[in-house]
Amino acid sequence: MDFEYSEEQTLLKDSLRRFIDGRYDFESRRKLLASSDGFSRDNWRQFAELGWLGVAFPEDSGGFAGSPVETMIIMEEFGRGLVVEPYLATVVLGGGLVEIAGSAAQKSEILEPMIAGELMLAFGHSEPQGRFNLADVRTTAEKDGDGYRLSGKKIVVYHAGVADRLIVSARTSGDVRDSDGITLFLVDPRADGVSIRDYRTVDGFRAGDITLEGVKVGADAVLGTVGGAHPAIEAVVDRAISALAAEAVGAMERANEITNDYLKSRKQFGVAIGKFQVLQHRMVDMYMHAEQAKSLSCMLAMKLDGPDRERALAAAATKARVGQAARFVGEQAVQLHGGMGMTEEYTVGHYMKRLTMIETLFGNVDHHLRRYAALAD
């Protein structure tokens, strides 16, 4: 039993912290949000140079053979800085799917340039009716000669608008909500019949709705086995949950530091407001939420490569608990700042917005409590 970082992991964390402190201050981030991509391609190149895009992938995929703990470290620091680059979309989800399900040829075609920072990915899975049920897929893939024709709609796909390749789930057989019969496809976003309506999200990211109208793809576009994608989707979403939990932990820790400093410096009634016991107790609750979230985030990272059921239980528990923590910490950080918490020009509200969204992404508290109960009994 050991929750401490290795020497390399500590170095990784330090280099991330240096980057965030040096290059990702609040004002620089605000400029990124307003830019046309909504993030910085320069930063992305830096991530590649520093090895952050490949750290979690095995060596035979061009990576550096790290573990989910490395992803956790990266995402925690990204959470502190509210980093908006498409790491989750491209590396964790897109790269993760290719690693889990892809052929050797697909891996070298996609993972190598992705790790080099030259290829961005997005995973289009959720549909208007599907909510958080990963098997609820209505998008169809009809056989068409050697290949397929895809039709359907994918919603709120983070970073769809900048992706060089989309990975899209579609039904090759079975009924809506059957876990069998779902297939993953690599789709060129510029192909005929693909349209993307992109937009800003409340947490400062970009996302898009993807409409597929009879999009023709070849047989080589299939990622993994035909009709058998559900386990890969579950696995990669649990990776995303682990990444998001870590991001939430980083964001909560930073929001708590900012709020704690504010309680010490803001004076009302002739004293620092941190002298009011009700605010002390609130701050203590915020701290306890973050600590508990951190414990589960570490647990999940260490179970992510374990047996499926254990992984799934850990992911459900973590997402449910972190979701509650994220909501509480974000909202109370704003509350304890008074009017300051409500201003766009000040940091803390941005933490609240991201934490609010993390609660929803890949399933809210309700969803994961239900999932946990179903798995546990």
Binding site: V156, Y199, D203, A207, F269, Q335, T343, T356, T360
Partner: protein, 399 residues
Amino acid sequence: MDLAFSSEDRAFREEVLAFVEANLPGEIRDRVARGLGVGKEALTAWQRTLHEKGWVAPAWPRNYGGAEWPLVRRYLFQQVMGEAAAPDIPPFGVNMVGPVIYTFGNEAQKARFLPRVLSGEDWWCQGYSEPGSGSDLASLRTRAEDQGDHYLVNGQKIWTTYAHLADWIFCLVRTDDSGRPQEGISFLLIDMKTPGITVRPIITIDHGHSVNEVFFEDVRVPKENLVGEPGKGWTYAKFLLSNERTGIAHVASAKRQVARIKSIAGAEEIDGRPLIEDRAFRARLAAVEVDLMALEFTELRLLSKVQGGGTLGAESSLLKIRATEIQQSLTGLLLEALGNYAAPFEAESEDDARRNEPPIGPDYRDGALQQHIYGRAATIYGGSNEIQRNIIAKMVLGL
């Protein structure tokens, strides 16, 4: 004890409802129902409609142009307005500065300001909070120096809602430093066009613009704009606050929100069934509905107490706390009902620029996020919920 309203009161309710149905434009109603802001022009037009009917100021005495309704009527009027998604008339004129002027102002001030408050010709804003004085308002430092025929005002206000739209601001200013902080405060009316006033917008985290910073640099304010006596501003402000708190429970609009959530959760699916049939979701919504019912009947019980000659003190803090907490729980459920579609968020100005593109997701998601995010302010403004709890602890419980 009797829960039923009299038949006259019920008839009154019907009359108000019919009037709103006939006179409130559909677009405005739709915006209010979605929790989106309503522009100055539309608000002023609605105020004029109510004014012409004599309904703009339910609580004001008749001789100043009010309706002077008894409490129950005022309550019912507010309920109908809330149910019908009528926009709130900005409170700063009719609910706040108006009553201060007719209670403490001189005849010239009454004649000059009250008619324009009622008609909506003048828009007012409230200049209380300062960067260093929020919860601890009595520490405010904006100075008004006596210069014989005028005051010279220097200082800064912050979080001033509508300062960018207002013609006038009522300010708490410091005219005396010698005694207790509360004793040196005066209530001053200032024309926003006076040289030396600068308004700087503050954009809030919902990307909206309603609050501002207001800077005063050697602003000359005629003495005739002082309300009542110098040094009595704190007393007037407390009087104003007691006015501000009536109708603070917003039960009707919360009920509308419940209905909206039910309708969205009826359209949204979970595992192929309507979300509203999901037991966990339904139970949580039911819990908030029950909270809301407790708030509604607490408000009625307090109302009945006042009607019987009692006075409302710190109990109104209870209404403010519960009302804002319920509002926030409801927008949380709204967000939850939207599922993945909770995330997209474009400010309205951004939307305008993309008018030719298809809307994002189902129509009912419009406004929900703005309302949820901006709604975090409800537990901060008007005396934060922590301060309201302090008030109850001290004034009601004697702790």
